[in-house]
Point group: C2
Chain length 379, copies 2
């Protein structure tokens, strides 16, 4: 593996044994981009895999060289923090289908020499996890001390625990669900249709035609962004405050602060994210249904698991409400698995897992310290 200052680590995987996708195609060799933080110990027992959310990436700490923005989980990962980089070796890879270095629709298809576009094969959460397992193999790590992530990251955590139970010592799915609900599919479909409606999408081949569905992708992001917050958070943050104005105006300019904020979110997102990646990854989330893929009985999928679970939900999360998270807990309880569950009181909405939520940090610190003692990482 070669370090590379602007884009971090990249590795070619699947050259000999390609990744066999749920959709049937084989992928290999393919590039996986990832970051690591902290040091792997001698017996390789302190590795933590962090799984990112839909529009996240591998840059959990420091500057993201693609965007120039700070990493997305600085409150969780670092010296003395719950994912203590003095103790753990943190790995985070860009998901399959992503747009931050791992192979995805914006990368060149070796067969054509042009960006894949819609020629990229359809992927699932399980495919993402298989690709991550190949990376973990490559790093010579047999068992991960912890697999952790929120939202789509949490779906990957669940998939890890089910697909590779022996390789997951602890699993921390946060603000997620065992299947994508009708409402969540609906919101994703709105986003995709907004992208498809943009003539600059060009049937997915916009990169080859040197353009971008900027407006469609921005609308998709705006709609999604509302679902990441709570009504209370929006009320508190913006209410009916006007943007740079003393009184109502009667035109189509951004009048309310919440409108300006959303427009800005949409515009900023277009700079950092690929529209086709958005299409493929939302589709992967929509496909996700852990029980259906394993015979229909949720408890069965966790049967005989030895993994220790810590499930965390937030009261203000209406995208993956506590009831969704509780289904994970119920299934684990039904097979007498080792599981702790905390519903964190927060009015910050779904995105709370990215924010300063002391109860979440305290919960994780306690859970991970206990498990680290069991694993011999703390004497």
């Amino acid at each position: 593996m070669a370090g590379n200052a602007p884009t971090g680590f990249r590795v070619e995987l699947g050259e000999r044994d390609p990744l066999v996708l749920d959709a049937g195609q084989k992928l290999g060799p393919f590039t996986m981009a990832y970051q690591t933080y902290g040091a792997l110990n001698a017996d390789k027992s302190n590795a933590v895999l962090v799984c990112h959310a839909l529009t996240g990436d591998q840059f959990v700490l420091g500057k993201n060289p693609y965007t120039g923005r700070d990493g997305w989980w600085p409150l969780m990962i670092g010296p003395g923090l719950p994912l203590d980089t003095d103790r753990y070796f943190i790995i985070c890879s860009n998901v399959l289908g992503g747009c931050m270095g791992t192979v995805g629709p914006k990368e060149l298809d070796p067969k054509t020499g042009k960006p894949y576009g819609l020629g990229f094969p359809f992927i699932t959460i399980a495919d993402m996890v298989r690709a991550q397992a190949m990376l973990v193999d490559h790093l010579g790590i047999d068992q991960l001390f912890c697999v952790i992530g929120g939202s789509m990251g949490g779906m990957q955590v669940l998939e890890w625990a089910v697909s590779y139970p022996e390789r997951v010592f602890t699993a921390v799915p946060i603000a997620c669900a065992t299947y994508h609900s009708a409402q969540n599919i609906a919101f994703h479909e709105v986003g995709r249709q907004a992208i498809f409606a943009d003539p600059d999408w060009r049937g997915g081949s916009y990169l080859a035609e040197d353009t971008k569905p900027r407006r469609g992708l921005a609308v998709a992001r705006m709609a999604a962004h509302i679902t990441y917050l709570s009504e209370a958070a929006l009320h508190e943050k913006f209410g009916r405050r006007l943007q740079h104005r003393e009184q109502l105006i009667y035109d189509l300019e951004d009048l309310f602060a919440v409108e300006s904020y959303l427009r800005h979110q949409g515009e900023a997102f277009v700079e950092r994210f690929d529209a086709n990646s958005y299409v493929y990854i939302t589709r992967a989330m929509d496909y996700f249904d852990l029980a259906a893929r394993h015979g229909g009985k949720l408890a069965e999928v966790f049967k005989d698991t030895k993994t220790r679970f810590c499930v965390i939900s937030f009261t203000g999360d209406w995208l993956y409400p506590t009831s969704d998270n509780r289904e994970i807990v119920r299934a684990l309880n039904a097979v007498a698995a080792n599981v702790s569950f905390v519903e964190v009181k927060s009015d910050k909405g779904h995105d709370a897992f990215l924010l300063n939520e002391p109860v979440m940090f305290d919960t994780l610190r306690g859970f991970l310290n206990g498990a680290a003692r069991r694993r011999g990482l703390i004497r």
Copy 2:
């Protein structure tokens, strides 16, 4: 007033005294399209004004000649129903800015001979109500027995009660709020941006250029439609059911039933609604803030009211949750107004007010019968 089979009644208003809009412009003469059901009694004391929601219209019963679809409130209005057409004279007018006959951005601007487009003046809920009051004047009615409506219709009801307290004997605001919240403004803004992003919008002048922002308007409708339902309703109605398929497919076709449903909703909406009307009316709703427009204290706006209120909310409504509706009740209680309040248990979401909700019907029947006795409509 002239009856006209395909489009119902139309009247020219504001020829002598134009409508002075909140934005400052004067409008007049302008066309108002409306329907009536039942007969006005001799002392004109049995008139009920029904106010329609964002994408509603004046055709509460029978066939809508524009769309060929059935009227939108057949469970509420008719012989023997809560709004009994054997007892009451029902009036419903298309709102100012609408697209079913009342003046709005799709109508011809007499100054240019072309559709108004963005040349149409910006409007508010109060403007809609002023226009309705001019219609009620035209019909020779001094006091309305009842003003009733859900969602944006409920906002008009509140505005009527505040702007014309002496003219409203009973007021029934359903599933609404005294101001449009940050989250609701946010969803509206997404819809508008989807329309603006469509190159066929042509800066609002699409009708003059003989086109339509079909895809943008469809996306706007899809996003909005999710907010009219509840997660429970979507789960029950669709869940993760596939559309015309036995198993998952890996392409971009509509895979899940909820996707097909939303796509259909979007496409059907484009046939019946004007994109600029959608822009103007959502903006009018965003402006709505009853307390702000009357000095900031909500209770003050209802001071000395003699109107009898019946406020109805639905447990599954997350667009105008019960907490929003309860603020109306609290303000009315603070001035010792005559108010009854019912929160109807329903998992059908915001659109419950349009659906078969027996508790809503029973509540209204009791409330209206009591008031009708007071008003001498029942001996």
